[in-house]
């Protein structure tokens, strides 16, 4: 985004007032900077301009110049004479120029909007009671602003297919489509998977997939988000919950190191959908379909819900007590996770220090799609580096742990959320070791563990992640965790306190941040949790510039790029 | 004195009469409750209890539905309800006095009627003797003495409940009783003055004497209207009837003295209250309304046989029932007094009025009783 105060500002006259706007910006965005709205459907700030909905029609004029001399023609009072364009122009397709005059509230503009609305509603079905978009529908909103309130259309409305399957996750209701083509442009420009198009003419125009193709790419659900009406619907969310019941929480997608900004929508402690949140430095307005499905793990069957000691159900107190017993005076190893938040990694690092433990960190890697699904499939690998939990780049397989176990050097292992068996550590090696497992879901390691302390998913706790571009991004608790469970930071703080015998370690996020920000060498110096909650903070990652990060060039990310100044 | 068969027979007869009277008064008390509910309902445009009916009566044509509509069987149901309700005793009460209180309230009400004449009996010679359980010479004093004991029941209930509202109810009740007893007593003195004939063998404190003095002459209500009024007002206060139901006043004391009482114990209080009304009405009838005698200045129209006895008793009961209706009527007409108003009325209005009334009649009787001797 272009911030204010730069030199390339121009002055335009907006509804009689001179305002400064960045040069080259189109009118819809420029006017929005000054708190006014030009209604629009087809325009999207992160897609190309199509200009086909005509909703953003405004009146525009530029200062007149003498054709011969090129000098400005002045009015009698000395002000420049404005040559108004005789017909309305579309705001999205018009860029600002110095001295431009714009009317967004004139009689003609209102008339245009009313006319456009009436045409859009001619064939639009009265589906609002059953439409999932109701409540967040641009057509509904502008219909209340510019709609007629009754229909002059005596003929029968068009009838089109209501439940077309566009892909595995997207269902199309053709009747509701207003042909804005946002979804088509998104598929072409962002997802790079050109499968959608219009067929037929006039009121028969219909959105379809190209023959033999379907909208199956991992970004297909973004078309549902950008659809200004309820035409494209998420098959998963369809008819599940009306949007006005949903409580929205700012969150960060834990799927990969891309760190997409998200909005988690929940009702009464149950998550119903996850949608992207606009952040022009990280994910624009997009996120992956796979990231949206992650909320299902909150209620999955293999979720750990009660503490286990020796595979028997137990209480949190007993589990913590057994853990401390297993740590005291033993040779300890700690297996950290890149899925943990910065705060948890910091406390785990302290715990390892107190227990004089050897630290291991496991990474998860996959294919990089070059957009928002990076090769590093953990949200917080860089957090582990910053908090000192890891000094080298983590690997998929914990061979050093396996070697240490072979030499019989470890008696107790604290494992945070990772599956050791899965990372090439033989189960036989673990047989003589007391495993303390802190995690959300069952796996082969938790089944071997002596103590299992269930923890919370990222939707059930607050914390922060550091993404691939060294953006520190905080997220909020969206839903309450299972009854009786403690946040990970509380568990870790309790363990540290019991181990040291001092009660100094607090599980309060703000005080953890006070501790973290104290170190003069850390990139977190002087920061607090509230700083990173709204927008991300660019951290200085130059210390780790020579590590072999696996991410490829992607949206808003350059491998080994020198961090820009925040 | 030795027991002979005649004495034993006498005793048995008295016991039988006593039992009859108790059951008559209790029945009347029960039906006063029904009357209260019915009359209040009618006065308020409702119909009152009209659902209770015995299974077989229900099927009698005309009569069945009529009795059902009158709620004739309602007292039966009420009594059964009180009997079978769960007995609840709060933990904080003084048990002995708590249980004693309802009895203390009921017994005086039933005892007063032993000296109440309710008719006359004619022997073969035509001589009449009053129908009365115990013809005391000092009947009216006995009534005053015993009926005042009734307040102990209320005071005991208020105190033994060990709770503030009953306590307040008990205190109010005792204060009220003391205040109105005075006016009540004073209001009756002119009666005795009026009735007693100088040199008469009959005691003027005998209720039978009072009744007979009204035969074929003016009722004392007509002769002594002020006394009758004071006595009536005091009677309302003594029986704790609205507008004087201070000990109970639901609006400020929840249930008053019986707040902590339930089931049958409450039932006894309830019956005692109505027994007081019944007996009170009977006393008023005896003293002021000519007892079993017919209308003022008219000799009894019935023959001096057993028919006359029955008709006399019936006439007496009719007057009593009318008075009970008057009690109920007043209750649903006049709102409750404030406590200070009750005290004010008793001490500053009724007591002086009774005194003035007494003095006036003392002078009047003295003047009337002057032997018609020397005329100047």
């Amino acid at each position: 985004m272009i911030s204010k105060g730069k030199t390339d500002q121009v002055t335009i006259n907006l509804d009689g007032q001179d305002v400064e706007v960045p040069a080259g910006m189109n009118l819809v965005d420029a006017v929005a900077l000054h708190g006014k709205e030009i209604p629009h459907y087809c325009y999207h700030p992160q897609l190309s301009v199509a200009g086909n909905c005509r909703m953003c029609l405004i009146e525009m004029g530029t200062p007149m110049r003498d054709r011969g001399t090129g000098e400005a023609i002045l009015e009698e009072d000395g002000s420049p004479k404005i040559g108004w364009v005789p017909k309305p122009v579309i705001g999205c397709g018009t860029n600002v120029s110095p001295g431009m005059h714009v009317k967004t509230e004139s009689e003609m503009v209102t008339g245009c909007r009313e006319g456009i609305m009436e045409f859009l509603l001619v064939n639009h079905p009265l589906d609002c009671p059953i439409c999932d978009q109701a409540g967040e529908c641009r057509l509904q909103e502008f219909a209340t602003d510019y709609g007629r309130g009754y229909s002059r259309y005596k003929e029968r409305k068009n009838v089109k297919p209501k439940r077309t399957r566009l892909g595995p996750r997207v269902t199309l209701d053709d009747e509701r489509c207003i042909l804005c083509s946002r979804c088509i442009r998104f598929s072409q420009e962002v997802a790079k998977d050109d499968v959608l198009g219009f067929v037929d003419r006039g009121s028969f125009s219909t959105l379809t997939c190209f023959p033999g193709k379907e909208l199956a790419n991992n970004y297909s659900l973004n078309t549902v988000d950008i659809c200004p009406v309820g035409a494209l619907t998420s098959t998963d969310f369809r008819f599940k919950m009306r949007v006005w019941f949903l409580k929205e929480t700012l969150s960060i997608c834990p799927e990969s190191s891309a760190g997409c900004n998200t909005l988690v929508s929940s009702r009464e402690g149950e998550i119903h959908r996850i949608a992207p949140r606009r952040n022009d430095a990280v994910n624009d307005s997009w996120m992956t379909d796979s990231g949206r499905a992650l909320y299902k793990q909150v209620k999955s069957d293999d979720r750990l819900k009660t503490p286990l000691v020796d595979r028997e159900e137990s209480t949190m107190e007993d589990a913590l007590h057994s853990t401390v017993n297993a740590l005291q005076g033993k040779s300890v190893g700690v297996v950290g996770s890149c899925n943990s938040t910065v705060e948890e990694q910091y406390l785990l690092n302290r715990l390892a220090k107190e227990a004089k433990a050897k630290k291991y960190l496991r990474g998860h890697f996959g294919e990089d799609d070059g957009i928002l699904l990076s090769a590093d499939r953990t949200p917080n690998l860089r957090g582990a580096l910053i908090t000192g939990l890891a000094s080298s780049y983590p690997t998929e397989h914990l061979s050093s742990l396996a070697q240490a176990l072979k030499k019989d050097r470890l008696e107790t292992l604290i494992v945070v959320g990772e599956d050791l068996i899965d990372s090439k550590v033989d189960a036989e090696l673990l047989s003589g070791v007391q495993i303390i497992y802190l995690g959300t879901h069952e796996n082969a390691t938790s089944n071997l563990a002596r103590v299992v302390i269930p923890t919370l998913t990222s939707f059930e706790k607050s914390g922060s992640f550091v993404n691939r571009g060294f953006f520190l991004q905080g997220f909020q608790q969206a839903v309450p965790g299972p009854a009786g469970l403690l946040p990970d930071v509380s568990v870790l703080a309790r363990l540290i306190n019991e181990l040291t015998g001092e009660g100094e370690s607090s599980s309060d996020i703000d005080s953890i941040w006070k501790d973290m920000a104290r170190s003069s060498t850390s990139p977190l110096k002087g920061l607090s949790f509230s700083d990173c909650k709204k927008d991300g903070i660019q951290l200085d990652g130059s210390k780790w510039a020579d590590l072999a990060f696996v991410e490829k060039k992607a949206l808003h990310y350059q491998p080994n790029a020198k961090p820009k100044d925040g | 004195m030795e027991f002979d068969s005649e004495m034993l027979q006498q005793l048995g007869l008295k016991a039988l009469f006593a039992l009859l009277m108790v059951s008559a008064v209790m029945t009347m008390a029960g039906y006063s409750v029904l009357a209260e509910r019915k009359v209040s309902a009618w006065m308020q445009g409702r119909v009152g209890p009209n659902r209770t009916v015995l299974p077989f009566v229900e099927h009698i044509p005309f009569i069945g539905p009529f009795l059902k509509g009158l709620g004739i069987f309602q007292p039966l149901a009420d009594g059964l309800k009180f009997l079978f309700k769960e007995e609840i005793v709060p933990g904080h009460v003084n048990k002995v006095y708590y249980y004693m209180a309802p009895l203390v309230a009921l017994v005086p009400a039933l005892t007063t009627m032993t000296v109440l004449p309710f008719g006359e009996y004619f022997d073969e010679a035509g001589n009449s003797s009053p129908l009365i359980l115990a013809n005391l010479e000092v009947g009216i004093l006995f009534i005053f003495a015993v009926s005042s004991l009734g307040v102990y029941g209320i005071v005991l209930a208020g105190w033994s409940s060990n709770s503030k509202y009953p306590f307040l109810g008990g205190i109010r009740s005792s204060a009220q009783m003391i205040s109105y007893e005075l006016a009540m007593g004073l209001s009756l003195l002119p009666i005795f003055l009026w009735v007693s004939v100088p040199g008469s063998e009959d005691s003027a404190l005998s209720l039978v004497g009072i009744v007979n003095s009204q035969n074929d002459g003016a009722w004392l209500l007509i002769v002594q209207p002020v006394s009758a009024l004071i006595f009536l007002v005091a009677l309302f206060a003594e029986t704790n009837r609205l507008p004087f139901d201070m000990p109970e006043s639901e609006t400020d004391l929840v249930g008053g003295f019986h707040t902590e009482y339930g089931s049958f114990k409450f039932g006894i209080f309830f019956v005692a209250e109505y027994a007081h009304i019944v007996v009170g009405s009977a006393i008023f009838t005896t003293i002021f309304l000519g007892g079993w005698h017919f209308l003022p200045w008219i000799a009894d129209p019935w023959p001096a046989t057993w028919i006359g006895t029955l008709l006399g008793i019936g006439w007496f009961l009719a007057k009593t029932v009318c008075l009970i209706f008057f009690f109920i009527w007043i209750r649903w007409t006049i709102p409750r007094f404030r406590y200070d108003q009750v005290m004010n009325l008793g001490w500053t209005k009724l007591l002086p009025l009774a005194l003035v009334n007494l003095i006036v009649y003392v002078l009047l009787v003295t003047w009337l009783d002057q032997p018609p001797s020397v005329t100047p």
Binding site: N158, V159, F239, R242 | M43, G45, V47, W329
Partner: protein, 181 residues
């Protein structure tokens, strides 16, 4: 401002101060009341005449063709002040001929009559005219669960009401008339 008129209270006469005439007047009033017509309604046998706009128990109604009108838009759930309504939305199977155009219908619809305050907002807000507060006013049960009316109970209580619009049928007609794409 209205002018304040101070009324002089006349001193009471002697007879008024005894209150006896007033008491007699009162007695007359109550006595005459005894013979007036009674207003009591013998309830279980006689039922009250309910006014047209009576708000009884909320119910779900069907249209004259026997189809459920509710499309589970959940506006009633949203507007319900005591949060008595709980809807689980569901979809109408595509092959159901009668209602294929409706698409959406409640899977479960519960109204907790222990919470309901009979305000009628649900009826007012319903865009499909599917929920009505009809004249059923006596609802009772032995358990809390019994007092939660489920979908079957709500349709049983509501029955069928005439429909002025047949909104979804119009859509079907339009399709049959050849407006289909």
């Amino acid at each position: 401002m209205a002018k304040t008129v101070v009324l002089e209270r006349k001193p009471l006469s002697l007879s008024e101060r005894t209150y006896l005439p007033q008491i007699v007047t009162g007695l007359k009033t109550t006595f005459s009341n005894m013979f007036k017509e009674k207003v009591t309604l013998q309830y279980p046998e006689e039922k009250p005449q309910l006014p047209q706009n009576y708000r009884g128990v909320p119910t779900l109604v069907k249209d004259p063709n026997g189809r459920e009108k509710c499309v589970s838009c959940q506006l009633c759930e949203f507007v319900c002040p005591p949060k008595a309504i709980r809807i689980t939305p569901g979809s109408v199977p595509e092959d159901e001929e009668d209602r294929e155009h409706v698409e959406k219908a409640p899977q479960e619809f519960e109204i907790n009559m222990l919470r309901c305050i009979y305000c009628g907002y649900c009826q007012e807000v319903c865009p499909e005219e599917a929920i009505f507060l009809l004249d059923e006013y006596s609802s009772s049960g032995y358990t809390r669960e019994e007092m939660i009316n489920n979908k079957a109970k709500l349709y049983e209580l509501g029955g069928t009401l005439p429909d002025k619009h047949y909104k979804w049928d119009k859509k079907k007609d339009a399709e049959e008339e050849g407006n289909a794409h």
